[in-house]
């Protein structure tokens, strides 16, 4: 029911003009309504519901990443139309709309020009299938079927049954389910769209950061608080959907002679037009009413920092230690019985750049797992990581991908847009760099650039976007995990050589069994733990500070060559991630273990650097 009030609000613009505060009131009304318990889950989501099931001009939400910010545009905030038959002038409102009514009086004195900006938004890159699935299901569960009629009824009944009778907990553990359900979510909308109009739309590049991504991209019109949004922010946007076919005026439809006559129009290159005014059926417009910045996109956690979140957190904290132990055991199995590597992997997964001191990002913890068994082990490992974190991407560092792939976003001045690259990721995305795929050969210049970009990302947690005449630095917060045979060629905060305790004859089978042995409920607990542990605050007492100082001095005394400030940095990060009272002791301990292991490795391999 609630979805339709937008129409009521926007249509009678004539009377609304007399009251200038109406805009603020609209926003307040919506915000108030959305604050109500669960009300936000009644709003259909562009992520889940295929576009053609959504009613135009209705309220929708969209969970997305701001991929590009276009230039601000001026529009007719208020304008006057003249009815050709009655000659009556009517004042109308242009806010939250793309297209004016018929018969605009361009010379009217009542026209008010206002400013808005367009953001190009894409679904969060690398969002794990389980995250999509759960958010889809939870939306489906809550939405009262009456208000969902337009989209639900068109769906096949079989599917509906499926959804209702299978509460998510009973379903089989993920892999099978994931792929099975996949086709229903973000994948459905584009696949049906991109294939249907065949040629004319397939060349439309939706500019997703990661290759093989699907989902609706959206042009979000932003009216308020322009400065508060930044590139690569993850937002949940509530807004009015606009898919007016008038917007679909592609270059080829235009009469070329008209273009010649009007030079202003021809200034826009076809590329630019395609990037900025794609057909609304493919890239819908969303007029933002309200946007909520997302701290995480884990659907198992309450997203808003409300009371029920703190309640949720405190209730989970009780379990925390046990969940952690279980997770550690699970990871140990996954890492072939290597408990130390499992502990480091766990720490890596919950690390987070929590602040920056001048140029130094604090809290980053890049892990280099060396000595990984070859063949598909790393791939399986990634699948397991993917099952645990809401956002991830595996970059196979083969020579070909490094030379051909675009990692760093680049400004395309012809189309006037930021062409995305694989390093344009949302915060806390797990980037899995698979160096075992690297073979001998030569990196060309773009390959070198890509490697440099990865190095910068790891060392400084920033990506220098290429603006052709200059570079612009965008800070990021990406958890990088490097798997390699020997020591990685990329820098890392911490290198752990993997020491398998078991050597299963069939790796595939081994991992699959471990994987299948976990219940979904258990996995869900892990997922909650990982997301939650990251948000916790750390503090340190004076005694610990003292202990750290003493320990450091002692360590230096023993072996001044190998213990440097760098090591202290790493141990402090580990201590802060461990985030318990004996964090420092633990950090010291595992670092010692790790160090002895690397020493051992060195003497084994002899000449390894």
């Amino acid at each position: 029911m609630r979805m339709w009030f937008v129409c009521r609000f926007c249509c009678p613009a004539a009377q609304s003009n007399s009251n200038p505060e109406w805009e603020a009131k609209v926003l307040e009304y919506f915000k108030g309504q959305l604050k109500e318990k669960e009300s936000h889950s009644w709003v259909p989501s562009l992520n889940d519901v295929p576009l053609h099931y959504l009613k135009p001009n209705s309220l929708v939400k969209f969970r997305c990443l701001v991929q590009d910010m276009f230039d601000p545009e001026f529009y007719m905030g208020v304008y006057e139309t003249v009815d050709p038959s009655t000659k009556a002038n009517v004042l109308r409102c242009g806010k939250y709309k793309d297209v004016t009514e018929c018969g605009v009086d361009l010379n009217s004195r009542n026209t008010v020009t206002a400013e808005r900006q367009t953001f190009y938004c894409v679904p969060i890159p690398g969002e794990s299938p389980w995250a999509k699935e759960i958010s889809f299901l939870s939306a489906a569960r809550v939405v009262p079927s009456t208000s969902y009629v337009p989209s639900r009824q068109k769906r096949s009944y079989e599917e509906d049954d499926d959804m209702d009778t299978q509460p998510q907990k009973q379903r089989e553990p993920h892999t099978g389910g994931g792929t099975k359900w996949c086709h229903r979510q973000e994948t459905e909308a584009p696949s049906s769209q991109t294939t249907a109009p065949s040629d004319c739309s397939s060349h439309l590049d939706l500019n997703f950061p990661l290759p093989g991504e699907r989902g609706p991209a959206c042009l979000v019109k932003v009216y308020e608080g322009l400065d508060s949004f930044k590139l690569n922010d993850t937002l949940e946007i509530y807004g009015i959907l606009s898919v007016n076919p008038v917007l679909t005026v592609l270059g080829e439809e235009k009469d070329p002679s008209l273009l010649l006559l009007n030079p202003t129009e021809s200034m826009e290159t076809p590329e630019e037009q395609r990037a900025h005014d794609p057909p609304a059926s493919l890239v819908p417009r969303l007029h933002m009413l309200y946007a909520r910045p997302l701290q995480h996109n884990n659907p198992l956690l309450p997203s808003a920092p409300t009371e029920d979140q703190s309640a949720f957190v405190s209730s989970f904290l009780v379990e925390m230690a046990s969940v952690r132990a279980e997770l550690l055991a699970y990871l140990t199995h996954v890492l072939l019985g290597d408990g130390l590597a499992a502990e480091y992997l766990l720490l890596h997964l919950i690390s987070n750049v929590y602040t920056r001191r001048d140029v130094l990002p604090l809290g980053k913890f890049t892990l280099n797992l060396s000595g990984c068994p070859l063949n598909s082990y790393t791939e399986r490992l990634y699948q397991i990581v993917q099952q645990l974190v809401p956002c991830s991407y595996r970059l196979s560092m083969s020579l070909h991908t490094m030379n051909s792939m675009r990692l760093v976003p680049k400004k395309d001045y012809v189309a006037n847009r930021l062409v995305s690259g694989a390093l344009q990721l949302a915060r806390n995305t797990s980037l899995f760099l698979d160096e075992t795929q690297l073979e001998q050969g030569q990196l060309d210049s773009s390959g070198v650039r890509n490697i440099t970009a990865l190095g910068n990302l790891i060392s400084w947690q920033k990506v220098d976007y290429d603006f052709s005449y200059h570079q612009m630095e965008f800070p990021c917060n990406i958890n990088v995990l490097v798997t390699s045979e020997g020591r990685s060629l990329l820098p890392s905060d911490c290198q752990v050589p993997l020491q398998p305790q078991v050597t299963p004859p069939n790796m595939e089978e081994y991992l699959t069994t471990i994987h299948m042995a976990q219940f979904t409920s258990q996995i869900n607990k892990f997922r909650v733990y990982l997301s939650l542990a990251r948000t916790l605050d750390y503090s340190i007492s004076d005694e610990v500070t003292k202990a750290v100082e003493d320990d450091f001095v002692d360590m230096r005394k023993d072996d001044p060559q190998s213990v440097t400030a760098e090591d202290l940095h790493r141990m402090l990060v580990v201590a802060s991630i461990t985030c318990s009272s004996n964090g420092w002791m633990r950090a010291k301990h595992i670092d010692m273990l790790r160090r002895s292991r690397t020493e051992q490795q060195k003497s084994l391999n002899g000449n390894e650097p």
């Binding site: 601000p72 001026f74 007719m76 003249v82 242009g94 709309k97 793309d98 297209v99 004016t100 009514e101 018929c102 018969g103 605009v104 009086d105 361009l106 010379n107 009217s108 004195r109 026209t111 020009t113 206002a114 400013e115 400065d227 949004f229 930044k230 590139l231 008038v246 917007l247 005026v249 008209l258 009007n262 030079p263 202003t264 129009e265 001191r357 001048d358 140029v359 130094l360 604090l362 930021l418 070198v448 440099t452 060392s459 603006f467 005449y469 200059h470 340190i540 500070t545 750290v548 100082e549 450091f552 001095v553 230096r556 001044p560 440097t564 400030a565 202290l568 402090l572 990060v573 802060s576």
Partner: protein, 864 residues
Amino acid sequence: MSSPTSTPGRRKRNRDDIPATPKSTAKAGSDGLVSPPSQRRRGQDSSNGDLPAMPTSPGTDIASPAVHDTSLFSSPRRSVLPSEVDMSSPLMYGTPSSRVEGTPRSGVGGTPARQRPDLGSIRKAPQVDLHSEPPSADGAVASEQALGQKLVIWGTDVNVGTCKEKFQRFLQRFIDPASNEDENAGLDLNEPLYMQKLEEISVVGEPVLNVNCSHVQSFDADLYRQLISYPQEVIPTFDMAVNELFFERFPDSILEHQIQVRPYNALKTRNMRSLNPEDIDQMITISGMVIRTSQLIPEMQEAFFQCQVCAFFTRVEVDRGRIAEPAVCRNCNTIHSLALIHNRSAFSDKQMIKVQESPDDMPAGQTPHTTIVYAHNDLVDKVQPGDRINITGIYRAVPMRENPRQSNVKSVYKTHIDVIHFRKTDEKRLHGLDEDSDQKLFTEERVQILKELASKPDVYDRLSSALAPSIYEHEDIKKGILLQLFGGTRKDFSQTGRGNFRAEVNILLCGDPGTSKSQLLQYVFNLVPRGQYTSGKGSSAVGLTAYVMKDPETKQLVLQTGALVLSDNGICCIDEFDKMSDSTRSVLHEVMEQQTLSIAKAGIICQLNARTSVLAAANPVESQWNPKKTTIENIQLPHTLLSRFDLIFLMLDPQDEAYDRRLAHHLVALYYQSEEQIEEEFLDMAVLKDYIAYARTYINPRLNEEASQALIEAYVDMRKIGSGRGMVSAYPRQLESLIRLAEAHAKVRFSDKVETIDVEEAKRLHREALKQSATDPRTGFVDISILTTGMSATARKRKEEVARALKKMIQSKGKTPAMKYQQLFDDLRGQSEAAITKDMFEEALRALADEDYLTVTGKTVRLL
């Protein structure tokens, strides 16, 4: 007095008045389409002039949008009234046809006016007069002061007569003795500035008068306000005023066309981001970088039609982008006999330029905005992609006509800027003049804060500790970098033949890996506005200097500048300096002393300025610093390059318990301190940035007498140290370094005089750096020759001794024409009391070979 009336052809395409209804449509045209109506300030302005009651939009129904829309897209439709202007009217002083006449002429009447498409449709007011309509109640009125009323241009509070008078007064009287713009070079600052410029025009013959808006503002604030608010009415008035004045004064001068006034430096807007609907149709100045330029677009201004039957010809002017083709020949009355003759039509040039916000203006985390700019006539091709420019122009917004077949339009306006004036901000860098003109403007309060900070006695320590607070200690290194950030005073000795003296301080950091050298470099790179960060590993010589490439769009060869040129007036941070290839390093020789870069490539031979400070970091060759070796031996850099660094610091692990403890404490605090605590302790990075920028711009310290004496003494002392042991311990380069450092230190204090304390600190720092880097590990003495010649004096002495001993040994062996290499080496080792390495032995052999005493072939040594 000449009437303001000018050629009726100065209309813009977008103008949408219907000529048949001059009065009402003139209003509608100028306001309706060209500007979104929100921008009109009719109501409040009418209080100034006694404008009669406002009209109730008569005739707007004629210009209904539907008609308008189709008219723009459909083929030229027959006009009701092609602009029929009485060419012989005495009101005319610049008919379009006069352009074709080639006879020399002078005076206002004789010189043709040139269209100003940059101003848009401006001539509606005079046009009303021209059509012999009496100035009616709502009509716009020109300078007809005979009417005894104070009349203004419709919709503004601009009274043409008053405005003209004011501007003429401004031109005649404005004096700016404090002017330091380079445009005014060679002008007498105590004479009226613009009159001199007019004189210049009469000599040079370039009919463009650039007027600095801030001058107008200081002269007459009201006139300035009018200029900003109603540029499209006021600038033509200025044009008239200037031309009258000019031809009165120089009645005989011949110009190509009438003088055009080009105002610049409108103070209103500085940043592209701050443009908003309020600015539409106002004059603005923004800065940005050109990213794309279109090809030249010929825009027809006047079409030439000739009758195919009787050869009668007629000219038709463009009206809102349309040509109204005359259907009937006026001479022979044949229908549809007129044909367009392209060669005799008049076109004007137009170019689309895309400008992007300059990176300095942008808030972090957002993408830069772009704006479309149209350049007209002689401004076409004035700028190239990559140029940083200040644009003064009129901000426009026109509604989008999305689809002619649909009557509902997209509710979005297209915005662009019609340029009036370009000013390249980086032009001067090429000409080698001093600092930028677009220096950061500091507010009074900010300057006050900075000065307060400068007056504190411990400002030097404060600033150095504010530098990279996350990096622990290394106080002297930070101090050195701080002085580098400030730089010395630039001196010009080109008259005496030495050219520019380097004012930039170069610093090399070397030391163990993992001593946060890179972090320091990153910090500096982020701190300075024009910093570049490169790594020696990945950069090539061309990446540092400049390379020639073919522009994909224009197919022209263009010079792409590299890191060193880009960091002109900034700091170039080069990490992994030791990993750089020799050829790459060699380009640094010129940059680091002469501060220029010579390029001879693909037919492009030029010398670019690269007045950059170099902050480099190098790792020792053996990955760990070997304290038994000299700096040169540790980092394996050519001494020719090393001697160009003013300060060379070693960043070594001190291996000292107290230090370790402090370091641990520092790091723990770094990780666990809250944001606020950090803020309290250290100076804000923004303050530091401003402080440096201010000092670099405004403070130019000079040596005072005592300081000069102190420097001389210091230099003499340094020389003395060495001369006692037969070594040279200082070269003039070191003296220059000392001077630079002393000046930089004076800048830190915001002092215009370099005093003794500055010299003391410079000496101390220099000595510190030398102590670290130029100490001979064998003797423990500071020996500058390690850095200047690559070898310490003692080492050289030892080399000679070994060679002598070897020669003696060979001679003592008697007549043996050939010897085994290995055996000779063993013999020498056995003989000598000091340990002799293979290197030393080889060196000795080489020395003897140079004396033509012996030759070495493979494993045997032959005497000659």
